[in-house]
């Protein structure tokens, strides 16, 4: 389990340094595969069928369909990279390290007595995803941040309660998938209307 936590954190930190859209999506695939392995891992001890189903869905949806949809969007966005993020890669990495410390602090405060490292890793994955969403201007990178948050929440659930009941899990997967489709449509439309997917152009509505 510790290896997987390290993998999750490694991918999260890697994304803080990436400005290329396709590379970010590839890193996201690695992270989602790690989440799926963690899911199988937690199911090994028990005889719970539903963790295997959840792991399979993670692979199919988060490492398959969502990256596929994002790659398709990215394929239409030639010349789009993260040029001037709100925090530079160095600053973002530093902030991510701070968030990791915050996550450990929060877990010690609020949820003592559980697998400390796994929880803190998952929580910092969630927080770093949020950080990416806030500090990146490229639409696709914001979507990647959202999926990272989702992965973090999923791992939190996994390490606390071995995941949610299957029916709810299915609903969450469905929602995540539809969310990416909707965001993909919007990104594509942004490119058509604004000629760019840099979200700094979205500042007309005020007051």
């Amino acid at each position: 389990m510790n290896v997987l936590t390290v993998l999750l954190l490694f991918t999260a930190f890697l994304i803080t340094r990436v400005s290329n859209l396709r590379l970010a999506i590839q890193i996201l695939i690695v992270q989602s595969l790690g989440v799926a392995v963690a899911c199988v891992w937690s199911g090994l001890g028990s005889e719970l069928m539903h963790t295997y189903i959840a792991a399979m869905l993670t692979v199919v949806i988060k490492a398959g369909m969502i990256p596929y949809a994002l790659f398709r969007v990215a394929a239409r966005l030639r010349n789009e990279t993260e040029n001037k993020p709100i925090l530079s890669p160095n600053q973002t990495s530093l902030a991510a390290a701070l968030l990791l410390a915050v996550a450990y602090g929060l877990v010690d405060q609020a949820l003592p007595g559980l697998g400390r490292d796994a929880l803190a890793g998952a929580l910092s994955g969630f927080l770093i995803g949020l950080l990416i969403m806030i500090t990146r201007r490229q639409a696709v990178l914001q979507i990647v941040g959202l999926i990272m948050m989702e992965n973090g929440i999923y791992l939190l659930g996994l390490s606390m309660t071995r995941g949610l009941p299957l029916i709810i899990e299915l609903g969450v997967f469905f929602d995540v998938m539809v969310a990416v489709i909707v965001l993909g449509i919007l990104t594509f439309r942004l490119k058509l209307s604004f000629m760019t997917t840099d979200t700094t152009v979205l500042q007309k509505l005020k007051g």
Binding site: M133, T161, I168, S193, G207
Partner: protein, 490 residues
Amino acid sequence: MFELILTALAIPFVCGLAVLAIRRPAAAAWFNLCGSLLTSATLFWIVRRFVAQGPFHQGGFMLDALNVLFLLIVAVLSLTAALYSIPYMAHELRDGHLTEKMIPRYFFLFQFFVLTMILTLVMENLGLLWVAVEATTLVSALLVAFSLNRSSLEAAWKYVMVCSVGIAMALLGTILLYYAQVQAGYTDVQPLGWFALSENAFLFNPALVKLSAMFILIGYGTKAGLAPMHTWLPDAHSQAPTPVSGLLSGALLSVAMYAIARNLAVFNLLPTVGQVAGQLLVGFGLLSIGIAVPFLLLQHDIKRLLAYSSVENIGLIALGFGLGSPLGLYGALLHLINNAIGKSALFYVSGELVQQYRTKQILRIRGVIRVMPVFGGMLLALVLAVSGLPPFGTFLSKLTIIQAMFHDGWWQGLLALLLLAAVFAGMIYYTLKLLFGEPPANLKPLRLSPAVTVAVGLSLLLLVSTGFYVPVWLDALLRAAVVIVGGGGR
């Protein structure tokens, strides 16, 4: 009853798919109205059966006094919005804002939007409730972006991003609540089921539930447009097609408040958690009313004006929930109904003005009362209603909430009253600017389509009648819902 709920879900589903096959815009609009009529009739029937038979629970669905109240809101608003969609879409087509090909897609999304809202309300499981709330965001985002111009895309992007983050927080809170349930040893009961929670939640670890409450309230609070998480609301509500603005402001915000109320009912079973959750809601509520004031006093865009008024009203409702006293809860629930009806109708009126004057700028819309006397009268009446003046139902509900606040402590009540006075000043100042003055020379007095008059007139009628008299069955529903939210279990 189970069949009725399934019917209420199946009708929008089938109609939504079927409307895609209709090519002619007018036919699609009327078909949509028929679908909404059937859905609303089914919902009213469910309410009637509920009043006669009492609570119901089967196969993942449930009905109790709390969600039946909200079903009532969805039933009324989906009907008026479908009515208003007919002239609105026809006008947009005439002006060339939309193409004929886009119309069936609008009605498809409309029906699915209503479907997801009904689904949210009838779910027994708090986890599935979350799933349905997220689904409402996704469907309505496509409606916000519907006209696909730059500003609507901007609004939709902000809407999905902010609300997805918020709703992710709510998921985290829900998982924490599940963990609290597992930790307390209830693994054999329905996980996150409302009935299991309302029976056992008082045995959960309070520290854990407190943490869960914070995440859940921030999360669903984002969806409900409570300050400081309200930033997406004025954009989304002003850029959506106006019938949808009405649904977003009236129905969807209410559905988000339902999610808060249902979770609050669990938190209130643990007195320490209920207290913290209440304080958080009171804070959000006061902040929402306060933040809306400057934007209501200095506003150029008529739809944004109404959107900020929604922030203010939802803030007042959150206040009522946060106080936790029966009086506050009663006022909040009654105000949800009144505000939903009044605000949606006001959006329909504003949409008609925007189409006639071809601008959203308040300062360019003048002399409404000369060009459209009846319509101007309805506009004035609705603004007075939304601001909470007698003889409308909103007066009663706002007064009840304020009264509950004074019971809690005089300074809170005084602060809320002062803020509400400022809000009223802003609303009435701009309304008078709209109503009087010299109308533009090129504007001919136009005849209103009967559909708008019926939709707005119906809303006004309902508002006036709740102002004078809350029917016995509605009063009983409200009282039962107050017990549920207050932590009285079933």
